[in-house]
Amino acid sequence: MIQNGLLIPQESGHLNEGERLRIHSIETFGTHDGPGIRMVVFVQGCQFRCLYCANPDTMDVTGGKFTGLEEIVKRAVDQKPYFGKSGGVTVSGGEPLLQRRILKQLFIKLHAEGINTALDSNGRLIDQQTKDLLEETDLLLLDVKHFNNDWHRKLTGLSNVNTFKVAKHREESGKPMWLRYVLVPGWSDQEDYLHQLGCYFGGFKTIRKVEILPYHQLGVHKWEALGMDYKLKGVGPPSEEILNKSAAIFREYFEEVQVN
């Protein structure tokens, strides 16, 4: 149901059905969601309502289609020769943690085939099942939407507390992660907060890379098709100047910063 131009918050119960994953789509030639060539599984369902979401059609937990793990693993194995030295499978979304129990099974199966696993998550949930999934995750791509909790709520509708908990847990586990940060002019490019983010995460030893994703409007038509309001209509992509400035700030704290 849509209220105030947004899909209302949904429980994630719809997503648990046996050994199947509710997915939106599969992109076989992913080159922007982790290292190398990756098969990207976009899962269905997300509880964040990011105003700039480029894939709003993945929000609805009742959408998409159930797909058996065997089918996904078969596709990944068929694709394995393309992965080269650094590629593999990335699960993105939607928010993968909503289906963390079944995803752990998927990653175990992929590991059995010698395939690298990456998880692209906003860190929405942290419990034992999340930790179990992260154990099977070779690389975590953690999307930090905003450092400040009030701005985070304005941008996504929900708090960023769990995101930080997930980051902390990952750091303690010693396994690698990348931070991803969508840069929206006027919303997430405040210098102060960028510095704060850098100060907080700069000491993390497991962060190998920080990716800045410049905001774009390419998903607007999907919002309209879904009958939702796109609230960032007047906001353009960040200028070169803003991008360079933000990247320079991050570079004070992180060794590898890349603008995607």
Partner: protein, 746 residues
């Protein structure tokens, strides 16, 4: 110890190449494989730069004059029809033009006088009466073929079931081993041919008599080539003595071929690593430096870019611009596991920077999993920067075809060099064949009866088993007619337009492949999948002819790595090839088949009615074995995996796939883009796929070039099996390319 004063002198390693014509042995013994990166390469010399400016100016005039700068309407082109021609003699380190003037085209009427007359008339000129008079006394290939065609063949041809046949123009595709002239010199080759001829004795049957005549023609050609060389002050009778001569001798052998013949495709072969042996020797002996080595290759390639044939406008429309298919195969591995990559493999690719991107020569990288990393990454870098390279699976072709000394005939087709040849056969239109199978053998556009004894389908919904039964019967009939057509064409071409200058550099009595082809495999796969997995209702007109289809429900589509439909494509290719292979070929040629359209996928579309996959009448086919536009929805790899499932053993003449991607989708930074494209090629070819064209371009660039062609004189894109200058495609074709699947993701 070698002192500074002492002259360094390198001797070539000896072997069986010293006891007879065996270039392969020479290359294997003397090659210097190169495992490094591209950092040694040099830019163009001043001479090269200035010459290229002159060429660009001439090409601009050519475009402004509607695609033809000048024509000699008085002279029949031959090895010595025109005296020496130069761009600017003082600056040319490699000399030789087809005529006495840059980009002036010559008439080669023995393929078909009518086509030549038409091409000349389109430019407001007329063929000299003296030339026309020649054909009062002899025949051209075209009229000879039509003298032998029967009613059935004529009908198949006029209805577009068989198209693009080389029955009114030269067949091309034959590759001389042009390296032989450099390694042995014409005198040695003449003696070898004389000996071959003397050995053709005993009871003279038709085969031997013809062979004696052919070898005699080859000897005449070699003598003429010597004479042509003398005009340029070159002693072609003897072997090349240094790097410059080696390049020059090879080019002279090739030049003779393109003066005598205007075959649809006139490949160069695999000369780069052969030439490297001479260049490496001169470098070691201190006779040249790297800039001069690059200059030789730049100027050679410049000459290859200036090769022109006289074509009618209709030909340009079908093939997109003005292709000569000067295909050069680069790289690959030896059977013994060493790489064939040399510094000159790099130097050839470097020409795309030194002279800018270009469709010609058609640079084809023979890709092996074992190629040196430095070379792989240079290739993909050049692809990203120029979109001018195609790739073929060296591991697969070596294994299936059995030789490591091969080139690519025309677009995608393996051809052992100097040992075998192939007879070009264009292609049969499979979607039209399917539509005839659905219409009781009637052609879907005209309603005319073409196939015999095909039971009419009368149900409301198409039944997969019934359709398959009829389709198999239809393919069987098409294969029978196709085979006899090819036999006639090549019998007549041998008689009336024998390629003596090319056969002079090929073993006497070589093996032959009969290169059949099929177009529209993706439409067939999707149509049959729709009939099998969805409900397809034919819409019939008053005459009972199916004019449209209603599809209820979804069905698996080719291009998504879905076995349910991909297997259909594979099975149909196998069935049609086996039907073709049942028929005996002229000169005991061995049948092969390609899944290739060249650029005629647009023209096929225009002439083919609505198909059961939902494609409307007139809409273009996908090129080659590509999935149909927009139906491959799981990304590039799923699309490529579907094509990779087609079995090369059924389509040994080649399975063309064209891949277009926006740079950003290859990776977020230049280094990732190179690494990902390299991994993509490794992955695709490890799946036993055969061919991939790679375009790395933004759609916006193409749209801008569509509207402002004057700003993009060298914009090159890969199409089915070759490259074209984008702005020389017809506007309809440009739009078709822009509409194709560009792999991109938000």
């Amino acid at each position: 110890m070698i002192t500074l004063e002492e002259e360094v002198k390198i001797e070539f390693g000896r072997g069986s190449w010293n006891n007879g014509v065996d270039v392969k042995d020479f290359v294997r013994r003397n090659i210097t494989p190169y495992y490094g990166d591209a950092s040694f390469l040099k830019g163009p010399t001043q001479k090269t730069k200035y010459l290229w400016q002159l060429c660009l100016k001439a090409m601009k005039e050519e475009r402004e004059k509607g695609g033809c700068r000048a024509i000699d309407t008085h002279t029949i082109s031959g090895i010595n029809s025109h005296g020496p021609g130069y761009i600017n003699e003082a600056l040319e380190v490699i000399v030789g033009l087809q005529t006495d003037e840059l980009l002036k085209r010559a008439m080669k009427p023995f393929g078909g006088l009518r086509v030549v007359e038409g091409a000349v008339a389109e430019r407001g000129m007329e063929v000299d009466q003296a030339v026309k008079d020649v054909f009062q006394y002899t025949k051209d290939h075209n009229s000879a073929v039509f003298a032998a065609y029967d009613a059935e063949i004529r009908q198949y041809r006029s209805k577009g079931v068989l198209t693009g046949l080389p029955d009114n123009y030269a067949r091309g595709r034959i590759i001389g081993d042009y390296r032989r002239l450099a390694l042995y010199g014409a005198d040695y080759l003449i003696n070898a041919k004389e000996a071959d001829k003397a050995a053709i004795d005993g009871a003279l049957d038709e085969h031997k008599i013809r062979l004696r005549e052919e070898v005699t023609d080859q000897i005449i050609a070699l003598k003429e080539i010597k004479k042509m060389g003398a005009g340029y002050g070159l002693e072609l009778g003897r072997p090349a003595a240094n790097a410059r001569e080696a390049v020059q001798w090879v080019y002279m052998a090739y030049l003779a071929a393109v003066k005598e013949q205007d075959g649809a495709a006139m490949s160069l072969g695999n000369v780069s690593s052969f030439l490297d042996i001479f260049i490496e020797k001169d470098l070691l002996e201190g006779k040249i430096d790297e800039a001069e080595a690059q200059e030789l290759i730049d100027q050679f390639v410049m000459k290859l870019r200036m090769v022109r044939h006289l074509r009618p406008g209709a030909y340009d429309e079908i093939f997109g611009g003005d292709p000569a298919w000067v295909t050069e195969a680069i790289g690959g591995q030896f059977e013994d596991g060493r790489t064939k990559v040399t510094k000159t493999s790099f130097r050839f690719l470097q020409t795309l920077y030194n002279l800018g991107p270009s469709p010609e020569p058609n640079l084809t990288v023979l890709w092996s999993q074992q190629l040196p990393e430095g070379f792989k990454n240079f290739c993909t870098q050049v692809s990203i920067d120029t979109s001018s390279i195609q790739y073929e699976n060296d591991d697969l072709m070596r294994e299936v075809r059995g030789s490591d000394d091969y080139g690519i005939a025309c677009c995608v087709s393996y051809q052992e060099i100097g040992k075998r040849i192939q007879f070009f056969g264009a292609r049969a239109n499979l979607p039209k064949t399917l539509l005839m199978a659905l219409n009781g053998g009637r052609e879907e556009m005209s309603g005319e009866q073409v196939l015999q004894d095909i039971a009419p389908l009368e149900g409301d919904v198409l039944d997969y088993q019934e359709v398959m039964r009829n389709f198999r019967q239809a393919m069987t009939q098409v294969a029978r007619v196709y085979s006899k057509t090819m036999n006639i064409i090549h019998y007549m071409h041998d008689r009336y337009y024998y390629e003596k200058a090319q056969f002079a550099f090929i073993d006497t009595d070589p093996g032959i492949d009969m290169a059949y082809g099929a177009a529209g495999i993706s439409i067939i796969a999707d149509s049959l999948s729709a009939i099998k997995y969805a409900k397809v209702r034919p819409v019939r007109n008053a005459e009972g002819l199916t004019v449209d289809f209603q599809i209820e429900g979804d069905y698996p589509k080719y291009g998504n790595d879905d076995d349910r439909v991909d297997v259909i494509a594979k099975k149909i290719a196998r069935f049609f090839f086996r039907e073709l292979a049942r028929h005996k070929c002229y000169k005991n040629a061995v049948p092969t088949m390609s899944l290739l359209t060249i650029t005629s996928n647009v023209m096929y579309g225009k002439k083919t009615g609505t198909t059961p996959d939902g494609r409307k009448a007139g809409e273009a086919f996908a090129p080659g074995a590509n999935p149909m536009h927009g139906r491959d929805t799981h990304g590039a790899i799923a699309s490529m995996n579907s094509v990779a499932k087609l079995d090369y053993r059924d389509s040994r003449d080649g399975i063309s796939n064209t891949f277009s991607i926006v740079p950003k989708s290859l990776g977020s930074n230049p280094q990732d883009q190179v690494e990902n494209l390299t991994a993509l090629l490794d992955g695709y070819f490890s799946k036993k796929a055969q061919h991939l064209n790679v375009n790395v371009l933004n759609r916006e660039t193409l749209l801008d070039a569509y509207h402002h062609p004057e700003n993009y004189p060298q914009l090159t894109i890969r199409v089915s099996g070759y490259a074209v200058n984008f702005i020389r495609l017809s506007k309809a074709h440009q739009l078709e390319v822009i509409a194709r699947t560009f792999h991109e993701r938000m």
